[in-house]
Symmetry: C2
Subunit: 321 residues, 2 copies
């Protein structure tokens, strides 16, 4: 998608140009390494696109965009320690390539550097950016804690699960868009709509992730499918399946959960969830949040075209088509 590539190039250049200090090497080398593993840069892209709705000179949103990207990477570095994850985007995680202490501390300084980027704006804009960013940062930590708590719990309700993914994932998309809007001087109503667009997009995106992990095609998703099922992870699929299961279906779910052959376990789960209507339920939920996102986007009053944001929203959900 060409329009995404343009933003991406701009962001990669900006990240390069930030020039983190050279020393202490054990503090900054891990950050240089991790920031260059380059994901989709979806969050900072949202900031730029939101600003561009109101200002063709949307590069002024770069510091805000990088702030969001730094924050996202800080949270990944620390989450990877907590999840004991060996790989991220196919490469070694910081706590493996260096060690956990270095991963803690370099994550810390990246969070501090994220805040620092906001100080490039004048006092009024800075304060507005800071307020939404700080609120979001707290929520992301709370979402991560809920996620860890849920792993140890027997039962998690759908409402609790949705609140967890909202905090852990969606609010940062909302924040990225709102920050772009603030830099572009969108006005408070449009800023709120930009936030809502991102929040709903994030919910749809995370539910799609749950679906793709079980029903996606490996080649399309870019990783082996069934990871959530093999790890007995709670997802909207599993929560809904358990909720609607009859006693008989519950027995089948429990038996499937204990299967040792991974392919068999994945296949049986796919069938069971489909039969119980969990697949359809999630698809409908995803579509609902996607549609809410598009409604918010429609309501936004902008001086420039909304084309890029519409295209990004479509692109994100092309994964399932």
């Amino acid at each position: 998608m060409k329009v995404l590539t343009t933003y991406n190039t701009l962001l990669e250049d900006a990240i390069q140009q930030e020039n983190l200090p050279l020393g202490p090497a054990n503090l900054y080398d891990p950050l240089r390494y991790f920031l260059q593993l380059s994901g989709k840069r979806m969050r900072p892209m949202l900031s730029l696109m939101a600003c561009k709705l109101y200002d063709t000179d949307f590069q002024k949103a770069l510091p805000a965009a990088l702030c969001v990207e730094y924050f996202h990477n800080f949270s990944l570095i620390h989450d990877d320690i907590m999840d004991a994850a060996p790989l991220r985007r196919g490469q070694q995680t910081v706590h493996i390539k260096w060690n956990p202490n270095i991963a803690i501390l370099s994550g810390d300084v990246l969070l501090v550097k994220a805040y620092g980027l906001l100080a490039k704006y004048d006092a009024q804009i800075f304060k507005a950016l800071f307020d939404i960013f700080n609120k979001t940062a707290i929520e992301v930590c709370e979402g991560q804690q809920m996620d860890m708590d849920f792993e140890l719990r027997q039962e998690v309700s759908e409402a609790e699960y949705i609140e967890m993914i909202r905090l852990k994932t969606s609010v940062l998309l909302g924040c990225a868009l709102q920050m772009g809007g603030i830099v572009g001087k969108a006005g408070s109503e449009n800023e709120a709509l930009l936030y809502e667009f991102g929040e709903q997009l994030g919910l749809a995106f995370q539910i799609q992730d749950d679906l793709l992990d079980l029903y996606g095609e490996s080649a399309q998703v870019g990783k082996q499918i069934g990871g959530d099922v093999l790890a007995n992870k709670k997802t909207l699929l599993s929560i809904h399946a358990k909720k609607v299961a009859t006693t008989e279906a519950m027995l089948a779910l429990n038996t499937t959960e204990k299967l040792e052959n991974p392919l068999e376990k994945i296949e049986q789960t796919q069938k069971l969830y489909s039969k119980l209507g969990a697949k359809l339920y999630c698809e409908e939920k995803m579509a609902l949040h996607h549609s809410k996102a598009l409604t918010a986007l429609e309501k936004i009053e902008s001086t420039q075209s909304k084309h890029d944001l519409q295209e990004l929203a479509e692109f994100l959900f092309a994964r399932t088509h």
Copy 2:
């Protein structure tokens, strides 16, 4: 010291009143626990005292003071993980009482909450506070990394060691004072002097710590002495001793380092360091930084009495007398 008790009571009340959220409990309970282990509250006290030099309504510096205290506690929670320390102020550390993941994440959110406290000020003051705080936060992380790096190195120069303790400890004292000055509208020259007072005080304080760890009396210091020596930790004492040692003295130092009887090792090291002039050298260095601190304090132009800051500076060094 009565004047300190007054500030302390004020700070303890303010910390109580901050009312951290109740949930997720695994995120905020560790912070409530850790913040109530209550150290000396020296850093936030410095903010209040600095503000009081210019404004009798110095309670307006409370959010800035708590920001510094939150930051200090964030860094302790994460440092304790890195140092694998089981105890802090005689109580279990967060990563032991809960677990390392919870210690990482609750530390993270405490850092975010520290920033959040600054947003209580209006845009201009906020920006000024933010700038010095953000710069300091980066430096403290860099200092901690240097400290970890030094553990793995054979040789560390005095200049490197001083820079490490400046970053890890002193800049936060400078920051605390400068922030108090900013809230009190001290003006840039006085703010710089307040910072210098704190920075020099911090250097003197840390060198005193090195001295007390080996030459203090347990009852006075509040912990067993000789910890640094038993852990073969680099201090200004050990760095200077190695620097001035003849070949013969170096042999004695190496032999002493390998002694297995702790009491013998401490006693031999005390004697060797004294003989090599390291004790005297550190005492002179400490006195030098203490005197530089007092000179900066003298130069400060204030509308109110400097008595409290003078008394605190004296109190801190009463430990050696």
